[in-house]
């Protein structure tokens, strides 16, 4: 009668509560918000280049959010800078596009970029100009993560202006550049683009638009 009474009922309740807590805790490991939060500001180390610099960053995700790794941000910015130098600045400096121009594009758009879109994507038609001055806005980096949080695309949006003179008078060129990059081996190459250019030359003003991935 004086035997120790073990509070089994209470302990069983306690065990149940513990199991519940474990369930909630364990399953909460893969936290996902129930809403549709899509925009984050992942930290990307500032990449110093001669012209382009990172401005704001957005990542959209169909699954877990993964920020843009610094090395990817650098790779993308380097390619964007390469495009800028080869396609836009080189023709104004020496009358020809840079030798590595085609290497910035992946196989899906290279033919377009070096074919019917080349005139709109580059300054080849302008010729050399003197007193060249350039400005570029900070680069807006945006990215798309897949359903497993894998980084699929990174896009760069920025504006570039070039001013100078040729024999006939003043030259002013404005570009609205969007380059979308996808991984190709160890590189990130341009897989889609939208580039709108307005050229104000002594002979008049023209606006051209090049957009890939929507047919010829």
């Amino acid at each position: 009668m004086d035997a120790v009474h073990f509070p089994f009922r209470n302990v069983r309740l306690g065990a149940g509560a513990l199991a519940f807590v474990l369930l909630v805790t364990a399953c909460g490991g893969g936290k996902h918000s129930s809403g549709d939060p899509t925009t984050t500001q992942p930290k990307v180390a500032a990449v110093k280049t001669s012209v382009l610099k990172v401005g704001s960053v957005d990542v959209e995700s169909a699954g877990p959010q993964t920020p843009i790794p610094t090395k990817v941000g650098k790779a993308v910015l380097t390619q964007a800078q390469g495009y800028l130098d080869d396609a836009l600045f080189a023709p104004l400096k020496n009358g020809r596009i840079g030798a590595t121009y085609a290497s910035h594009f992946d196989a899906l758009v290279r033919a377009e970029a070096t074919g019917h879109d080349q005139a709109a994507l580059t300054n080849t038609g302008v010729g050399e100009i003197d007193d060249l001055q350039t400005k570029a806005t900070p680069v807006y980096l945006s990215a798309l993560d897949g359903t497993l949080g894998d980084l699929m695309y990174v896009a760069t949006n920025f504006d570039v202006t070039e001013t100078g003179r040729n024999d006939a008078g003043k030259v002013a060129i404005k570009h609205r550049v969007e380059l979308t990059f996808a991984p190709v081996g160890n590189d990130w190459l341009v897989t889609a683009y939208r580039v709108q250019t307005t050229r104000t030359l002594p002979t008049g003003t023209t606006t051209t638009t090049a957009k890939s991935g929507a047919g010829a």
Partner: protein, 317 residues
């Protein structure tokens, strides 16, 4: 003393057994939790839809057949292709998922043109109504509709009632140009003619209303086409730059069950689809005749042949 010792031993024995039971219960529960979580995680990683992890599923996107060689590596389609849009009637209390809204979008990337053929659900196919095919899944519905029109369907986008309303609400509603007065208690469609902003529920009512029209499902089918093109106009406006494209694709990726198609395919497809101007997409309901189920009317064969050759119905605009 002896009696006391026995009682003590018995109590200790009971205590030990209870402790064992408790430890076993905790251990069992922990193991079950771990196994369940590992299983769910594995399933999720394998691409199985896990509601808490993936969000609500609004629609199914299935890739039925390859478009071209470029398509296999994620490139933009380089020839015309056909997408079947299905609205099925699956909802609580109504199973079967018949394809009550059937629309085939023919897209020609090279010409930057598209046409849409609307198919009334009561259209005859193989001795039955054509919408029955969807009860066997989107691929069968694609085979039936493709057979009727004589075109290879490459993609199917299939949505049920809940998915449709969720999808429309997810993009903030849709502005629809209502062609005629609607006052239908069956569908709940009460609209005046003109541009109306609709929630998901209202868009569903608009899409279901057939009692307001003498030709019933024929007009309803055409109205569904109007809604699709109006929605495309608004989505297209949001797809004019990469951040906008990524935002919509992420939304789609979170709420779609993808069958045979990846996010890269969707990206390429989206760039093509939304490069088209919906104002220049013809919305054509197939010619029909009355009967037990709708037969094909005069001109159907020539319409389908015109649609088949390049995805475009010439002269519709």
């Amino acid at each position: 003393m002896t009696r006391t010792t026995t009682n003590d031993n018995t109590a200790k024995h009971r205590l030990g057994r209870r402790t064992k039971r408790i430890l076993l219960a905790i251990g069992g529960a922990t193991t079950a939790v771990v196994v369940a979580c590992v299983g769910i995680s594995a399933a999720w990683l394998a691409g199985v839809h896990v509601p808490l992890a993936s969000g609500a599923t609004y629609l199914t996107v299935a890739k039925v057949a390859p478009i071209s060689a470029a398509d296999s590596v994620g490139g933009a389609p380089d020839s015309h292709f056909f997408i079947l849009l299905v609205g099925n009637d699956s909802r609580p209390g109504v199973g079967g998922a018949r394809g009550d809204a059937l629309h085939v979008l023919g897209v020609n990337p090279l010409l930057h043109k598209a046409s849409m053929i609307d198919i009334p659900r009561d259209t005859c196919w193989n001795g039955d109504k054509i919408n029955v095919g969807n009860t066997q899944g989107p691929r069968q519905q694609a085979a039936d509709v493709g057979g009727l029109l004589g075109v290879p369907i490459s993609y199917v986008v299939d949505v049920d009632f809940a998915g449709f309303t969720g999808l429309v609400d997810g993009v903030g509603g849709v502005d629809v140009d209502v062609p005629t007065q609607m006052h239908d208690s069956y569908s709940g469609a009460y609209f005046s003619p003109g541009m109306q902003h609709m929630t998901g529920g209202q868009a569903l009512s608009f899409s279901r209303d057939r009692h307001d029209f003498p030709t019933s499902d024929i007009v309803r089918t055409h109205n569904q086409g109007i809604l699709i093109l109006d929605a495309m106009r608004q989505l297209r406006a949001k797809m004019q730059n990469a951040p906008g494209e990524f935002r919509l694709l992420a939304l789609l990726g979170r709420h779609a069950q993808l069958d045979g198609i990846g996010m890269k395919d969707l990206y390429r497809l989206g760039r093509v689809a939304f490069s088209l101007n919906p104002d220049q997409i013809a919305n054509i309901t197939i010619p029909w005749t009355n009967g037990g189920c709708l037969g094909l009317g005069a001109g159907a064969s020539s319409l389908f042949a015109d649609f088949r050759d390049d995805g475009i119905v010439e002269g519709a605009h």
